[in-house]
Structure formats: C-alpha cells, structure tokens
Symmetry: C2
Subunit: 202 residues, 2 copies
C-alpha cells in the first residue's frame, strides 16, 4: 500500500488508471469473472504493482463501487420540490437516460452486483438508497394529492424510471441485436418522454 504521505503525481495517475481499468473489467465480467491480470494489463501495470496500490482484489472492487455510488444517486437528489412536478420528473428521467448512454459501464457494474443479490452493497441499498427514495416519493405523493400530476404508486413510478432507463445500458447487446443499425438512443428519449407525459398528465 502506498505510504501515508501525500500521493505523488505518479501515484495519483496510477490509482486513477487502476480504477478506470477495474471499472472496465468488473463491469464486463462481474467480480469473480474478472482477474487481476486483466485489470493490471488494462491499467498498464504489473500484477504485483497493482497490489502495491490496493491490498486485494476485493479492495479494488469496493473502491470502484464506492466511487460509483457517490454519483449514482445524484440525478434523483436533484429533483427540486419547488419546480414544476411533471417537468421535474421528466428531467430526472432524461438525466437517468443520459447516464445510461454516457456511463454504461457504471450501470452494468451496478447491475452485475444487484442481479447476484447485492452481496457487497445490500446495506447501502436499505439505508442510503431507501431513505433517499422515501424522501422523494413523499414529495411526489404531495404533488399527486395536489392534483398537479396523476395518482400512481410512487415507488413503482421510481422503479419504472430506473428500469426503463438503465435497460438501455444493461441490455445494450440485446437491444442492438434487435434494432440492427438504428441507434437505440435516437428514439428512446422521445418514447420515454411521451410515456411519462401520458402516464402523469393530471
């Protein structure tokens, strides 16, 4: 492990390269499918040198996940209680869809973890994620009671946004296999926008 002194430029660069390479490999292969050899080679380091920066494979995985979780919930946090209800929700949907397009590896890393039972992040889900969702669904319920958007189950509304948007990153291969040459992100934004306008119109 690097010393406790302030990291040099080289250490910063190497740590960043490792996290970038690990995101690549873990998101494509899952935790057990990934090997340190793959990560080291993708980061341009030797395997022992990789383990000089992180004590174990597990530690690398946790570091990548931690960095992901830090920003993963930002789009949801950004829903503004003082904004226009429908526009706030539609903006959230757009942000989530954009993340699927711009950060598909992050989405797949997360998906890998959840599909396999979230062994490493279940606590984060039932604590941080739950309390954030509770807060936002309360807000959404208020909007619904005020008649500013249609009444639907607020939690399932959130689940639907997650599934519809993340699907384009997580199931990318399948979508492209079916669509052929057409870019999924050409028509997806308009489709999903229409879907939520019709669902939530007061």
């Amino acid at each position: 492990m690097p010393s406790n002194r302030a990291p040099t430029r080289i250490q910063k660069k190497n740590r960043a390269a490792i996290l970038e390479a690990a995101l690549d490999v873990f998101s494509a292969q899952g935790f057990r499918g990934a090997t340190l050899d793959q990560i080291a080679s993708a980061a341009g380091l030797s395997k022992p040198n990789l383990l000089y920066y992180f004590p174990s494979k597990e530690a690398i995985h946790q570091a990548v996940l931690a960095r992901l979780l830090d920003t993963w919930l930002d789009p949801l946090r950004a829903i503004d209680p003082d904004g226009d209800p429908l526009e706030e929700i539609l903006a959230y949907v757009r942000r989530k869809l954009q993340m699927s397009r711009d950060y598909p590896r992050e989405s797949r890393l997360f998906a890998n973890e959840i599909v396999q039972g979230a062994p490493r992040i279940e606590p984060v889900l039932s604590r941080d994620l739950k309390s954030l969702v509770d807060e936002k669904t309360t807000l959404i319920e208020t909007w619904m009671r005020q008649g500013r958007i249609a009444q639907v189950h607020p939690y399932h509304l959130v689940f639907s946004i997650w599934s519809l948007t993340q699907h384009y990153a997580d199931f990318d291969v399948q979508i492209r296999a079916v669509l052929g040459d057409e870019d999924p992100f050409d028509a997806a934004p308009a489709f999903i926008d229409t879907l939520y306008r019709r669902l939530l119109a007061p």
Copy 2:
C-alpha cells in the same frame, strides 16, 4: 457421458436434478462465479458423477440456457393478430410480469448473460429473437396505422415491456430493500397496466 441407450428413470431424475441445481447456481453467481462443487452438492451428486452426465461446465450451462430460451419467448409468440390490440398487449405484459414472479431465476440467468455481453447467445438474439420481434412489431404497427392503439415507436414499446417486467426479477433485492415489507407484486400489476393503458389509448 451416459450411454446412447434410452435413459433409465434414475438417469432422467439425475439429469433433471442437475439442470435444476445448475439454474439455481448459475442464475445466482453467473457462469464464472458458479463452481461445479456448488452444482454437484445442490444436485446431491459428487463432482465426478456430475461430469458423468455432462462433459463439462460449459455443457451444463448451455443445456440450462437452451431449456430457458425454449420457453422464454412464448409470451411474445402468443400475441394474437386477431385479438383486440390493446388487450393483446396488456395480456402480454401480464404474462411477462408473471414470469418474473414465478421464474425469477430464469430471468436472472438471462440477465447475467446479457449484461456481460451475451458471449454465449448473441447469435440467438440477432437471429431468432430479432425475427420474432420484427414480426410482432410489424403487427403492432398495423394496429397503430389503423388507429386502434396510439402511435409510439414499436421496438421501444417492446423494450419497455421487457425492462419494466424483468426488472422485478432481476433487481428484486433492490426493490425489496426500498419497499420494505410491502410485496412488490401487490401493486406492480395495476401500476404497469395503468401505464400501458394511458400510453396506448387511441
């Protein structure tokens, strides 16, 4: 490998037990995460005996996937060109959601495979799946042109159905972490039904 003679009752039972155990383990851990030890123990056999029935880990995985794909597309096939358009689509959605509730392991096995780039079934996707979806979207487009349901992008409509319904199996842990004690499948059917009624109302 068992002889070419007709399988005995014991052979049938063991093969079935292996496929059942393999579905359990592969869907929960992915291909590389699963071990022959786990499968053998879950099937109540020794590891060498397991490999008496299947020549390799890869062969077991393919057998499980093949059995899955055989029935996975049935709900889509069952859309009836002569039925009422909206009701046909809603019935398809219900069948898919029911599969997520009754066969979550199958859904997660599939998800594991796709998220990691579908290395073993990409050909099936761009051949069998694509041609089936092409056929059904053509039908849906006809219905839309006739004004019997609203006009939306037919492929993305199908993707949305896949994502919304499979999400309840694939992201089960996350959904339960957020919902707490409430059973996801209590409110999901009504929510999704409402969603598609409002989206597709002519």
